[in-house]
Subunit: 360 residues, 4 copies
């Protein structure tokens, strides 16, 4: 990247442009190239997310809130949600990138003191840049901070994905696993130990990108027609942040693409609480069948708490409760404990997220 910019710059010097004009306009070109790579990275990841979302559209998994089992979902829904978030990031990043596609050939204080606006317009057109409508010695740095915030948002979404996989790879959960090459060694001390190190790395790097954003905001209020304090900052945070996000996107694509999923473990974990996750549905069904909500709550909570503490099956206890059986028969109780009822709208959600018809 650097050498292409330098070459371009040397060509410009022949036209008599000042160094400030060249630096900012060259930066726009470099950022433009970086943005293209990042857009491609987002598109590549989105494609993989979509493919795997449809693959696991109906793979039942327990939904967890506060780390506690709540109600069933499907693993495909998780992937679809990430896809949806990534689409927003794509839109934001495009908007922010566009703001960076501006050149500036307006001289030492932005007045076109020595070369007129026509030259700026002509040069920018040649470079596929928009001329900044107005500038001081430099292009306003709100554009750069906005760009960095779009990068930090992408990084945070990747962190969210990586964090989820770390959770799912826990020894107690084991529903998903980072790709692991057949010949790859595990931990040297513990041969079986496969650690989600790529996910952990993505989480860490998101912190770095997010931190850089802070410095980018401090660059906005420069003195008068410019001071150069932003320059040393940008030499660090612009390459670092674009390169890191590009790397993180590639890693996440690799991660999702090769992610090992155990549908069997997901099913086991759905059943881990022996029916407790259906207590909310049971409550509604009892009320609908005529039981007073207060009474229903007391009965359900009683069995639920006992089952939680003792490990006794919740569904069995409910079936054996004569008070319950006044309102619900065996089939109706089975219906209350049915995963299927929770998932009848999955297709509808997928239609919302993946609006256009796809080949899957």
């Amino acid at each position: 990247m650097r050498s292409a910019g330098a070459e371009e710059a040397s060509r410009w010097l022949h036209y008599g442009l000042t160094s400030n004009d060249i630096v900012d306009t060259a930066q726009a070109l470099l950022v433009g190239q970086a943005s293209e790579l990042i857009e491609n990275g987002i598109a590549g990841l989105a494609e993989v997310l979509e493919r795997r979302a449809f693959e696991f559209k109906d793979t039942v998994q327990i939904g967890r809130t506060h780390g506690i089992h709540a109600e069933p979902i499907t693993f495909g829904l998780k992937l679809a949600l990430w896809y949806d978030e990534l689409q927003r990031n794509l839109h934001r990043f495009r908007e922010a990138s566009l703001e960076m596609r501006v050149g500036k050939i307006s001289g030492a204080v932005g007045t076109f003191g020595h070369i007129g606006p026509e030259a700026e317009e002509r040069i920018c057109a040649r470079l596929h840049l928009e001329p900044a409508p107005i500038a001081s010695q430099v292009i306003s740095r709100d554009r750069h901070a906005h760009y960095l915030s779009a990068l930090a948002l992408i990084a945070a979404t990747l962190e969210k994905i990586a964090l989820e996989i770390r959770h799912l790879q826990r020894t107690e959960v084991r529903e998903a696993e980072e790709p692991f090459a057949p010949g790859q060694k595990g931990s040297s001390a513990m041969p079986h130990k496969r650690n989600p190190v790529t996910c952990e790395q993505i989480c860490g790097l998101a912190r770095v990108v997010r931190s850089n954003l802070q410095a980018a905001f401090e660059d906005i209020p420069l003195w008068h027609e410019r001071d150069i304090s932003h320059s040393s900052v940008e030499r660090i945070i612009l390459p670092d942040s674009t390169i890191l996000v590009d790397y993180m996107l590639a890693k996440t694509q690799w991660l999702i693409s090769g992610l090992r999923i155990s549908a069997a473990r997901m099913q086991q974990n759905v059943e881990l609480t022996k029916g407790l996750i259906f207590s909310g549905q049971l409550l509604l069904d009892l009320s609908a069948a005529g039981m007073l909500r207060e009474d229903a709550y007391k009965v359900v909570q009683g069995h639920a708490m006992e089952s939680w503490e003792s490990g006794i099956g919740f569904q069995a206890a409910i079936e054996a409760d004569p008070e319950v059986r006044k309102y619900l028969n065996q089939n109706q109780i089975a219906e209350s404990f049915s995963v299927r009822r929770y998932l009848i709208h999955v297709d509808r959600i997928f239609q919302r997220v993946f609006r256009t018809t796809t080949a899957y």
Copy 2:
């Protein structure tokens, strides 16, 4: 704001919605109301900036880079640049606000387990919200971080404006002054002392809004279908940041609206270096007149340095230099020291910034 949301919420409970759905959807309404106030604030400030930009379109002022006198600008250009930056912020803020105008009535883990998507769509339509295409227990928090970043960008632009006025109000500069009520007392110890305290406050508060952004980013990667760690954060940073930005916009509007400008001091400061600021133009003119650039540079720098150190008038020294006079006559030298030449494109820049014809 809070009571309106509470009332709305209680109405919803009659429909059997869960608390999480209500909280997030009510938040969308509250943020929507706050966003309207802030958009109005931006519009109000933009109007004032535009009016005063045209008022000072031709008021000559020295342009400064690195805090050092560079080339002439007009004070109207500064205001126009702020207007331009504010328009970008308006666009960004609208985009980010739109992302916050989503409701979510999809139950404990986002599957519409107990109430179908139609209810969500109907309720959201009534509330002028879009239904989130997909959600977990909560609406994804990337939207909130994006919203906070748009607020922090506004705050940074206001900081930039306030910082500039603080610079212009310095005792040595005295080109601008914060509005000062006739009866208002100055410093108690020094009766004449008028401090740009509102500008300083705006600079300080921008730091706070910018800091809040950091916490908003950390809220994105929640666990699984949600953990509630974001809630305590948002209870602080959402009201604080929206209220602060609303306040800062109002203060900046007051500031720009009543800003006291001394065109006389601006003119004095343009002349402060006794012509040194024209050395760049002189260099070009000497070269154009046939002097070797190396020679021109040596002559100009020699007089410039001597003038800078001794305080002797630079223009006078140039006029008296026989080497210079070989290439430029009295009139031509006067032309080299003409402010007018720097400002011939001001109208063109104004046309670029204020694209549509205005009444001014």
Copy 3:
């Protein structure tokens, strides 16, 4: 707090002090009071951590790295590590608080222009403050940023504690649980659902305190003998951060004090991998018994991978392997799979952490 400061301030005005001197010196008193509360909070939490550390000194738990089971630890070790970290925070906070215990009665620009240094020394002595050796109009703000960083460090340690408990309370882990009052209701939808909401709140608030730190650092480089930009910042971040940390300390003390621990679940989780966690020790024992390390690694990894994938008991497979039995007999293998061997140094670690003999 505020009224005490105001009263003190009005008394000072009688002595003819300027408002800047009063504000900064009063702030020192207020921060001093807040610091005392926070120090007490740290001490209270440390006491509880120490007590419970000794209570669970020998309660075996699986150690986890990367979220994957590694080698056994005891739960007491976790508590002891938090205690150790908290002691560092106590030391840091005391140092930072001391730096804030300075007064300043040196006039508009710190020169004692109208009242001499003796008055400052006398007044400070009366208020149990040190006079700042040198000041501008205000006390230098590096002290404040340092103080905020000490608060943010405390908050981060509390976040670390809260995060760990959230992990241990996961449905799949269930080794620990936030205190839960007998009459307290669970989730309204799912009666049995107990969520670690206090822990999640602590994690969220740590983000806020950490964010405030950023603003505190930006307050350091004020203009010349002071600008007032720091004031609006401090009015928000100083009370917010001290109050939040005080609250978080109290909540964490409540949390640790009433934390519900299941030693049975901890034991079950130690056994969850059916012996895999001892593979590292087995490897060492086989090598010590004469097997080539490469061979030992191949044998151990083979059984380990098979056990991990299939769920077959690892220890049983090892016992049945004739290659292994050439080097280790039944008793020696049992010794390789012994938790006890990992924990022989726990007392020594406790002695290091709780240096002085305690009553436990």
Copy 4:
């Protein structure tokens, strides 16, 4: 640095240590070396600050608050204040560095599962490190965040110094100037233009170091006995922050050492307001001489405002006011306008700051 660490590490592998132990302990050695360089940098800068503080101890300069002229100070006082702040930073940095001088050879989860504490103690002693009293797989990361905060505090003080010089080098102020080599070229467009680019760079880099701190705080709450998310962060922020601070210290030492001061300009600026800066003292003297404070305030403010707006000399106007002359004669008025009275405590302040007798 890196190769020294690698060599040390390979020696350790012979003792059978695990990689985690080596990485953290090697990091302690590397950070120790970096800390030494930084401590030397602080000492070097402190020496220069002290020398120049005494050089300019009595060089009168106007004190500015809010950017507005307030009361006289000396330039030496500014330098002494920076020295004082730097001493605090030295103390903090030493404390934070000490916390990083800990090693850790306690195995995969910190239990000394395979090698006992004696080995750790022996190895650490050899390396001049303290053994961490307790650790998980890694040394607790609160130490690292503390270390980064000490670095960010140093950076902020350097930023404060650099910002002040940028202010003093402004064309309208011209009291100080960055060192400028005789042969060094100014701006290419404007030969006389000397920009404080080193100061601006220091201001920018302080933002970067401060940003890195944010990531360091997020590294504290790792999962259980460790996750590796901190590692990618530290590979960036630890070398970057230490190298940047080392560089900034060296640059600031160069800056202060060669700083060009114009005592003449300082004097001119003291006189810029034609006596207005003495209005506070005059007020006190009139009151002391028996004039009612309300009357004195009215008279002083009247002349002050007129002088401020019109540029008429304030002292002259006061001398000509018959109301004033009832209370103060010519000599007494001269005394009110005496710079000397403001500076009688400068030596005392220097004694406070530079406690031990020095050669200057």
